[in-house]
Symmetry: C2
Amino acid sequence: MIIDRLYQEAVKKGPICVGLDTRLEYLPEYIKQANLKLEEKIFEFNRKIIDATLDDVACYKLQIACYEALGLAGLIAYAKTLKYIRKNGKIVIADIKRGDISSTAELYAEAHFSGDFEADFITVNPYLGRDAIKPYFKYLNRGEKGLFVLMRTSNPGSEDFQDLIVEDEPLYLHVARKIKEWGQEFKGEAGYSLIGGVVGLTYPQEFMEIKNNTADTFYLIPGYGAQGGTGQDLARILQDEICAVVNSSRGIITAHQGVDESENFAQVSREQVLKMKEDILQWLK
Amino acid sequence: MIIDRLYQEAVKKGPICVGLDTRLEYLPEYIKQANLKLEEKIFEFNRKIIDATLDDVACYKLQIACYEALGLAGLIAYAKTLKYIRKNGKIVIADIKRGDISSTAELYAEAHFSGDFEADFITVNPYLGRDAIKPYFKYLNRGEKGLFVLMRTSNPGSEDFQDLIVEDEPLYLHVARKIKEWGQEFKGEAGYSLIGGVVGLTYPQEFMEIKNNTADTFYLIPGYGAQGGTGQDLARILQDEICAVVNSSRGIITAHQGVDESENFAQVSREQVLKMKEDILQWLK
């Protein structure tokens, strides 16, 4: 099952997820000045970072908004990048946060689990309830694909609705437990479900509360580095169990800026990956 | 302001929104057999329906999942269709239900309010709170763009979270009131806000409850026809005030199937639009 593969990668390589949230201003000078189409420039940037970090990370994540913002050219680069990662035997998470009624979710499943935009995992918004989740089960049944459903986001506005109190508990806990419940039928050999949770690293206390209520859940954790989370925060939550991958994007893919704008720029990304790994693994002992 | 334009169109033409949720199996025989690329086939289908219904509808809505499911070709057709609708002076709603933290929402705003995928309105998922909404305000400030935020969806699974009780009231009412609050600074001449709400037609009682709590809100109402809502349901809610557009997709764009598979197929769509209009307007007197 794909979740077993992700778990093993996280154990072997470290629980590092590189966020390829590529924006034009991140491109090093040599790519900016190259005689290439927009989609080729973006892909070149991504490819270099992938090549340089392949052996040191568990997986990659692409925030599709970065590519949608560049229109059709962006989505061509998006499709090429997904393909390149999977061709290299690595796992890729499409951070698309889709959420819609069942007939529409079926189409999103088709869109992101097959064809041009095929990824291994996708992120999903649970607000519409079970209809927004179940259409993906067809792909989960084969063990080849997985979901990360938003449990608790780490942005300030998350308090507007996710913190509202329902039966003496915040809404996000109800959501997290429901996601755990949906995932029970999809457990892999390592004991984790194909339905994982997205939980921000900004509020470690709340994360612990969620973790205590969602055993067997594998987590996708955004918020390391640029968003403030540290390796020590993470270690407190994981408690020596590698049940998560931690995403860092800007901290890795913009590190070359003003440092190395040449064809070797991605070595700076690699150094950042190694630093992040050290920071996390030192606490996990 | 774009919401004034939408309101006037709804009053003049009837509050009809045609959902161009195009799927390959809907194409009439003559398009299926034509020697055209996939993206051209889809666009040809959409163009014919737009041409045939232009004078009788307030606006169009595209469910982007239908296009994403067809990969890059689908999104080329999506972009062409948006452009065609706007070139013809009509309003188009991109049903994308995006929802993400602020830096990402900024990119979604750029993606869907400019460039290849520019639409007039987009639908948004509120689950992440104010961060997921405010990045769009830059475009709303200019009066040129608007949002429809999910208030209450009409799918069975909506009960999982939207019906949970917070301070003696269902969550969806809290969400609806918050959306109304966000919209107060964006009111047009007709008194409606550029931030509208999406409310399903399946539960008229709940819709009334929402409406009583969200004065000055213009609604996008899915669920007419194929999903069960009738003109009479609608009239009870609107109470002679044209403060909504009602979307129908399959009821209009698949009506030709087995009836007319020729180049004139879209006349059948037009007839369905006229019937829908009659059904709605008879009750609105």
